[in-house]
């Protein structure tokens, strides 16, 4: 391995500007501040909205993404059903946020990295991770069921915002190794309040590494609404405090998400450094099946988001443009059913757990303490079998 040369710091922050730099600073500010309204390319009625900065992705990309969107919705519904049937312990559904999920997976290349959270199962699957392996965590068999290196998808992080720093580390290592990897690091609106969010964005900016921070602002952190989380003009306004651009995007608009994330990824790959993208979306269901959202929000509020559904508007748009016909739609539906059936089948099969696994991976080699403890458990179990 060669570590590429060049200072690890961007080091662009300098002495206070002289008078001549006034324009430069105002220009930098307007570059880093987000647009007032979230970028939208296809409105809830399925109509294209022109945007100077972000052209609409081409029809094929949109159709391919739509396919994932429909599958994602089906995965969410199926997973919920499996929890109800007791095949899975818990499922934090991304119902309503599937456009964000699909865009996060599709905006990067195979060699790039995705850092998802517990809510981002649909994104994980869209990256190619085996569904049953992905659901190992929520089924309770093991903490993480897939090999992160197989599809460059990190574990689905539970401790909020911690994964953003891992993403920075992966990007930083790639940069030092001279690899052209981009990392998409996901978190929720609530997680932006954690200290690790701050440290991750600052490290990414100072080391000028290719990370796109992607905040799914679904308006809630369990029961806590956004207004108790932040009183900033928007979460994307945090970007300028680190010296990176921030952008807002309609999180139920798959086309806009692909465009905005795509641009941030391209910029990062070209050495432009990190960016913060805030998607405005809504958690349509409870936090998890263990939660009861009616305790803290009204049906009315939820109802307002129904017409903004990400699937519907894409279907309308693609159908009106004849990019989607009935047979393709059927084809996609069939694929979604196949995935759902595979989920059912996989999760209905009894899984085996091996008690020896408790000790196997704590260290590369068992310590003498763990050898003793494993032997003790083995002995107990063998007595039980007598």
């Amino acid at each position: 391995m060669t570590i590429s040369t060049g200072s690890p710091w961007r080091g662009s922050m300098q002495e206070p500007a002289g008078r001549a730099d006034l324009d430069a600073q105002r220009a930098a500010e307007s570059y880093m501040l987000p647009s007032v309204e979230p970028v939208q390319l296809i409105d809830p009625d399925g109509r294209h909205v022109h945007n100077d900065k972000y052209p609409l992705p081409d029809g094929d990309s949109l159709l391919g993404a739509y396919r994932e969107l429909v599958v994602g919705r089906r995965v969410n519904d199926q997973a919920n059903a499996l929890v109800r049937q007791g095949r899975m312990a818990v499922y934090p559904s991304s119902h309503g946020q599937e456009a964000c999920q699909v865009a996060a997976a599709l905006c990067i290349e195979a060699a790039d990295w995705l850092f998802p959270t517990y809510r981002d199962t649909v994104a994980v699957l869209a990256r190619g991770v085996d569904p049953i392996q992905a659901l190992t965590l929520l089924r309770g068999d093991w903490h993480s069921g897939y090999d992160p290196y197989e599809h460059n998808v990190s574990i689905q992080a539970t401790p909020l915002a911690t994964q953003l720093l891992h993403a920075v580390g992966v990007a930083h290592a790639a940069k030092l190794k001279g690899e052209n990897t981009v990392v998409v690091a996901m978190c929720g609106d609530g997680a932006t309040s954690e200290g690790d969010f701050h440290e991750a964005l600052n490290f990414a900016a100072v080391f000028h590494v290719p990370v796109v921070f992607f905040v799914q602002n679904n308006q809630y952190a369990i029961s806590v609404p956004l207004s108790h989380q932040s009183v900033a003009p928007s979460l994307a306004h945090k970007a300028i405090g680190y010296g990176m651009p921030g952008e807002r995007v309609d999180g139920n608009d798959l086309a806009a998400l692909l465009a905005v994330l795509g641009k941030a990824v391209d910029r990062a790959r070209d050495g432009g450094g990190p960016a913060l993208v805030e998607a405005h979306t809504y958690r349509m269901q409870s936090h998890t099946n263990a939660d009861d959202a009616t305790r803290y929000r009204s049906d009315d509020e939820v109802a307002q988001w129904v017409p903004k559904d990400p699937v519907m508007r894409m279907r309308t748009y693609l159908t009106e443009l004849k990019l989607l016909d009935e047979s393709t739609e059927k084809d996609i539906a069939a694929e979604a059913e196949r995935v759902a059936a595979a989920l059912r089948e996989g999760l209905n099969a009894e899984s085996e757990v091996d008690p020896e696994d408790l000790f196997r991976h704590v260290y590369s080699e068992k310590t003498s303490q763990l050898r003793e403890q494993a032997a003790k458990l083995r002995e107990e179990l063998s007595r039980e079998q007598l």
Partner: protein
């Protein structure tokens, strides 16, 4: 008049009663307001006392803890909830470097009468980071008072006592007990708070002592019941107050029985269980007929739900340890 309450409701009642009695008590944390907490321990408090007295914070544990320090400095009695054991770790610096040390640092000028409530330990099939037994980190930190109730009445009295305590208290709530129910006389309990530094004999016995606390007390009692059927009389000590530790009660029991097993869910290495073993052998060496043994979690990260029962101290594992205490008849 006796009522039947769950452990969770007892905690909730204790909070309400203290908030009623003392207007300086404020409750905050993640989801403790409108929702009433993910375990409903703060249910109804915002409605009853207003959102200035019980409120949600932004999602940041160090923030919650640091703000609590400042509020306590300025005359309030904050009771904060860390949503789950492992989610208290972001607040570790605030807890160790300030909560534990501020009174000492200022020669007692600044007192920090605050309570850190932590739902802890396993046995509920929770996913990773939701089942840590983190008591040893706190118990090892001088300046913290660390307690854990194991019964519904203790849940009520100990939480009230914690809130009235002049020093910071880490109040560890065994999650798996939240739904357990007991009859209790609330009125009688209101004045009986006197548990800090006091262990209780949860079951009397003569042959060996089981020393434990929190989630493992019920397991130890079950083990003692099973042993009784086999003719062995086990005494069970519920430590309750980890710091300060009640040496007198524990040592009296071990001196009487001559044998002891210490039980705890946390990994055993450098833990509260290690401490109890060390103290017992230091103080009761010549009363001991056998080494003091431990039944603890293994020295592994908390296992996934389907494997946790292999990890947790069980009745069988406790009875095995008791059997190993070098009985003459064996």
């Amino acid at each position: 008049m006796s009522t039947t309450l769950t452990f969770a409701k007892a905690l909730n009642t204790a909070l309400a009663d203290e908030m009623e009695a003392d207007p300086t008590v404020v409750v905050f944390g993640e989801d403790v307001g409108t929702l009433g907490g993910v375990f409903r321990i703060t249910d109804g408090l915002t409605k009853r006392f207003g959102e200035e007295r019980c409120f949600d914070t932004p999602l940041a544990e160090s923030g919650i803890m640091g703000m609590a320090v400042g509020m306590a400095m300025n005359g309030l009695r904050p009771v904060v909830e860390m949503q789950f054991d492992a989610f208290a770790y972001p607040a570790f610096e605030q807890v160790v470097s300030h909560v534990a040390k501020m009174p000492n640092r200022t020669r007692g000028k600044v007192k920090l009468p605050l309570v850190i409530r932590i739902p802890y330990a396993g046995g509920i099939g929770g996913v990773e980071h939701h089942c840590d037994s983190s008591e040893s980190y706190y118990a090892h930190t001088p300046g913290l008072t660390v307690v854990s109730p194991a019964t519904v009445p203790d849940a009520y009295t100990m939480l009230r006592e914690a809130i009235r305590h002049p020093d910071p208290v880490v109040f560890l709530e065994p999650k798996k007990l939240y739904w357990s129910k007991e009859d209790l006389e609330l009125e009688a309990l209101r004045s009986s708070a006197n548990s800090f530094g006091r262990a209780v004999v949860a079951r009397e016995g003569t042959d060996a002592t089981l020393i434990t606390y929190g989630p493992s007390v019920s397991t130890a009692l079950n083990a003692a019941a099973a042993a009784a059927e086999e003719g062995r009389s086990l005494e069970v000590i519920d430590v309750r107050s980890i710091v300060p530790f009640d040496d007198a009660t524990v040592m009296a029991s071990v001196r009487k029985t001559g044998r002891a097993v210490v039980i705890a869910e946390a990994p055993g290495f450098a833990s509260v269980a290690s401490e109890i073993v060390a103290r017992v052998q230091e103080r009761c060496f010549h009363s001991l007929a056998a080494p003091v043994l431990r039944v603890t979690g293994f020295d592994i990260p908390y296992p996934a739900p389907k494997l946790e029962h292999f990890h947790l101290p069980s009745v069988d594992r406790i009875l095995d340890a008791v059997d190993e205490l070098q009985w003459e008849d064996a």
